[in-house]
Symmetry: C2
Subunit: 318 residues, 2 copies
């Protein structure tokens, strides 16, 4: 069990990333010695400042597939949070090896390191995309068959299977969190990041991929971290699968309009058309969060509020 | 679509194996030029005789991860049947890399070869073990979450995800067959194979792993091949998931008694105890076959009849 008040050492792969760095801050604030393993391919040192320069968090710059680089840091750890992965679904379609290597094979090596070092608990960031295009909304954890439509989704499903097998074979406790879209003041990809970048390069026009009707739910990184830590404290099956999201969703059209308004309201929005933003996109996503709400955790903001908050933070930072 | 009367070339990975060799015979008998890709790690040349020496089937001895060895044979093929895998669930617990490499990574390379050669259809031998220990019997294809308990099961789930993603991203049609236990006159592992081998080395005692109450369904390899070809002809979704099995199941105790009777009835049966035969074993398995029966295919034998038939073939062959 991972107790937020615990002071036992923990390891976070991908801890220098957009979500990982929030998790690291939260764990460190609870008094746990935190070691981050990150190859800094999309994570950044500055996301962990001032913790790194203060020496309150340790960073091992390593690819998680190279176990010997970090295996020794796992000895005595009470939990490993595995967040390292290719974060951008679209990259995987251009180069099919990316998600196999950085998702599936990477997770295998992390689990082997965990098994050898006798770490009792693994917590994993999976994704709503394991559901593919579901026929049930909101989609519950029991939904099947799981037919992902991207190589990223395939790698998340493969990792879930590995975690489940390791739990049963080697006595680990594992947590599988299926995320809605996670947003926050730090972002390295995703719709808000893309729209801001596009408006920066051309303030007159915002090109939107697809017809704008794609609709998904958005959860703040901060609340996502709270939810994971809450579940880790209260759910105690050998294998714990939880959707994390909000009860509402927002269309890409609504988001585009919000982004344009936050940037002065002058840009014209142009849609490329078609139901899907890009190959591998799941246009409609709404997770059932009944299971996590029954456990006692509730999102503090709706998707609409989360996007508004995020836009205020981004325009302030720009 | 794979038409049994089609004479278009097809490729079968694992085609020299216990199930693959039946499939190859069936395809060849329909007039299709068949190329087998098999590394002969558990498959055997003799399973394909006299087809090989007659020259009516071509064998490429290669590991499917080494694409350049067989990619050229895929050009012009109408379908690839992907059956190559580590066939023995227990091996994967001793060496966790086996199923990752021979299951997940191997499937990735097969799909890459298929994509490059523009083969329109892939048919894959998955397994009931993707369901883990389900809470619903008989277990339907829509059951979730999918929580495998062996690395073999994890690799089958990973492969299913890859097939689904390739179908959506690159326009393939894929078939995922979740097999019950498949038995037949040719076997390289499994409970009947094990029991016969044990009785050969000690005809006085048959040691049974577990308490004998594990109960599963058994389908003849011949009927499994018929079912796959039937589904391939009649199901036309981009991703087609079908359980293949029978409506009944047999306990390990019943099988042990049948094997002892078939071998003269003198051996004493000794149970090692416990609900599970071995780490990663799923003690209770009964698939719903409503979906394949609705399509129009029905098993010709029950599990009990399939085991009896198989025992007659094995004692005749001994």
């Amino acid at each position: 069990m991972v107790d937020p008040s615990s002071r036992e050492p923990v390891v976070v792969t991908g801890g220098a990333g957009a979500i990982g760095s929030f998790l690291v801050r939260s764990l460190q604030a609870s008094g746990a010695p935190v070691t981050v393993v990150d190859n800094l391919s999309s994570g950044r040192r500055e996301f962990l400042e001032p913790l790194l320069s203060e020496g309150s968090v340790k960073l091992v710059v390593a690819d998680v597939r190279v176990r010997e680089r970090y295996e020794s840091t796992l000895r005595g750890a009470s939990a490993l949070w595995h967040l390292a992965a290719n974060p951008d679904i679209r990259l995987g379609t251009a180069d099919p090896t990316i998600d196999l290597e950085q998702g599936t094979v990477a997770t295998f090596h992390v689990l082997e390191a965990v098994r050898r070092a006798d770490v009792p608990t693994v917590l994993f960031s999976s994704s709503s995309v394991v559901y593919g295009t579901p026929s049930v909304f909101p989609t519950p954890e029991e939904y099947g068959p799981l037919l992902p439509e991207s190589l990223y989704g395939a790698s998340k499903l493969a990792a879930e299977g590995l975690l489940s097998a390791y739990a049963r074979l080697y006595g680990l406790r594992v947590y599988i969190f299926r995320f809605a879209n996670i947003i926050g003041p730090i972002m390295t990809h995703g719709v808000l990041f893309d729209f801001f970048r596009k408006l920066k390069s051309d303030p007159t026009t915002l090109e939107v991929l697809g017809d704008g009707r794609q609709a998904k739910s958005y959860l703040r990184a901060e609340e996502c971290v709270e939810a994971m830590r809450f579940v880790a404290l209260h759910a105690k099956e050998p294998v714990n699968v939880y959707n994390l999201g909000t009860r509402d969703r927002l269309s890409v059209r609504e988001i585009a309009e919000k982004v344009v308004a936050a940037n002065g309201g002058r840009a014209r929005i142009v849609y490329t058309g078609g139901p899907r933003g890009w190959a591998g996109d799941i246009p409609q996503q709404l997770l059932s969060i009944d299971k996590v709400e029954s456990l006692g955790w509730h999102p503090r903001h709706t998707s609409a509020e989360a996007v508004d908050l995020c836009l205020r933070e981004m325009t302030r930072g720009a």
